[in-house]
Amino acid sequence: MYLVTAIIKPHRLEDVTESLKDLGVSGITVSEVQGFGRQRGHTEVYRGSEYRVDFLPKVMLQVACDDTAADKIADTIVPAARTGKIGDGKVWIQELARIVRVRTGETGADAL
């Protein structure tokens, strides 16, 4: 089992989830994160003075899947999330030792 994690630009989420649904992904967990990277932050203005914002809002997706699907999922996310501009984010894959569905206690592929 694998866990695919993607950090993407917030406004790409809808396209990414659509394409994952099309791929037949059964579930996704999303969270709001802030990212710092090559895409530097920006300057904001408040009451006449400026301040730097290092972190930019990103969205993190986590998708658990079985061994075969991981690469397919990553390869689906990447184009869907891409804008071609710096700051598009990352996708990484980790191995899972075990997965369980809370409702039923099913494990492994059945848990997905």
Binding site: H11, H42, R47
Partner: protein, 489 residues
Amino acid sequence: VGVVMLGMWAIAWYFTTRAGAAMLGQQTPAVKADDVVNPLNTAWVLVAAFLVFFMQAGFMMLEAGFARTREISNIMLECIADTCLCGLLFWAFGFAFMFGSGNGWIGHQYFFLNNAPATYGSTGVAFLAFFLFQFAFADTCSTITSGAMVGRTAFGGDLLYSLGVSGLIYPIVGHWIWGPDGWLATQSTPFRDFAGSTVVHTVGGILALAGAIALGPRLGRRFKRDGGGMPPGHDMILASLGGVILWFGWYGFNPGSTLSAMDFAGIGRVATNTTLAACAGGLAAMFFVYPRSHKWDTGISINGFLAGLVAITCPCYWVSPFGSICIGALAGVIMVLAVDFVEWLRVDDPIGAVAVHGACGIFGTISLGLFATGQFGVPGPTGADNSSPVTGLFYGGGAHQLGIQVVGSAVVTITVLVLGLALMYAVKAAGVLRVSEDIEVAGIDIHEHGAPAYHPEYAYMGYSAIPSGKPAGTVSLPAGAASPVGVGE
């Protein structure tokens, strides 16, 4: 003779028709017009007092909006507790010091509102209505003071210095200008401060400066000179709401200060001047900072119209609409420069109280000496008395009024700065002025008030961000166009 008499009877008959009818057939005991004057003026002053009181809500929202999440429950309770304290102090002796007669320096009459007459002085306004109006003013001053001290003042220290501000400094200095026998009010050319640019705003703003100096900056606050800047306020909606509530309340502050609705030209003029100065101040500040960052700065625009309001508070009765616009516009610019100066001084004033109330209070006071048109004198219970009008430099009045305005403003500013520093350092010496660093890191709300101001239940909010964060994409946009750039991502 008979003819004459007939004639007279005819006349008598003529006059008895309407007039007679007029005075006959009234069920309720007939009322004389004079009996209506005091009620009308009292009602006017009370409505104004209510509006001035409501400014508390404005200050609370403005300060909360301009402050950080960690320090806002503290702001709420400070404003509430200061209001409550101010009421009791003003009842006990504040009002006596300020509006009781005594000598040029302090009043000593009406302690605990004892031996109060039916109406205050010659105003014809019910004594307790006048008291309420003046309490609301005093309260405003103490709130302004706390504005620059946000985020690091221990609550106990706040209560302590508020005793000095609402109980002593404000009423005593106020007596000089508004007291029946105040020394500044009784000069040959009297120092004039119609609604309190000096009495309320300069005093409040300078005390705020003293407090901010005694406290030092909030932990982690770095200044422009040191490559830092004002930490952003946590909620511009609250700040804007607060600003507009303040503007609304100012319609009690200035027009109410005629203490007379009978001077109906006066209240109309004051209300319009107040409005135009605010309009000019807001636009001036907005356009003045635009070139710096090429952003339309919401926060500075709010402080801009507040600057206009503060400045017009002193001259509002004596200037023209055009003069008001000039005063407001200048105030908007002065406020911005004052903010820069305070920042340069490395003084941490989270809401800009020193710039808005201090600097613009001084400017407004002086502006009377420049812009007074020479048409208007003083309001009175039954109407305006323009027998001895006030004239400023630009209207051929020479420098008399300007001189006394400058002197009065300078004297008050310096006195209050000295007294304020003494007071604040005394509280500091008592070790209760500022919270510890640990508390500041932990958040003053949690430590002083037991909990943060906000307890959102994220699980019960809608996450609209995500679906609606997306551009129309395929539906209404060429695919490529969907890609955004720059700041927001």
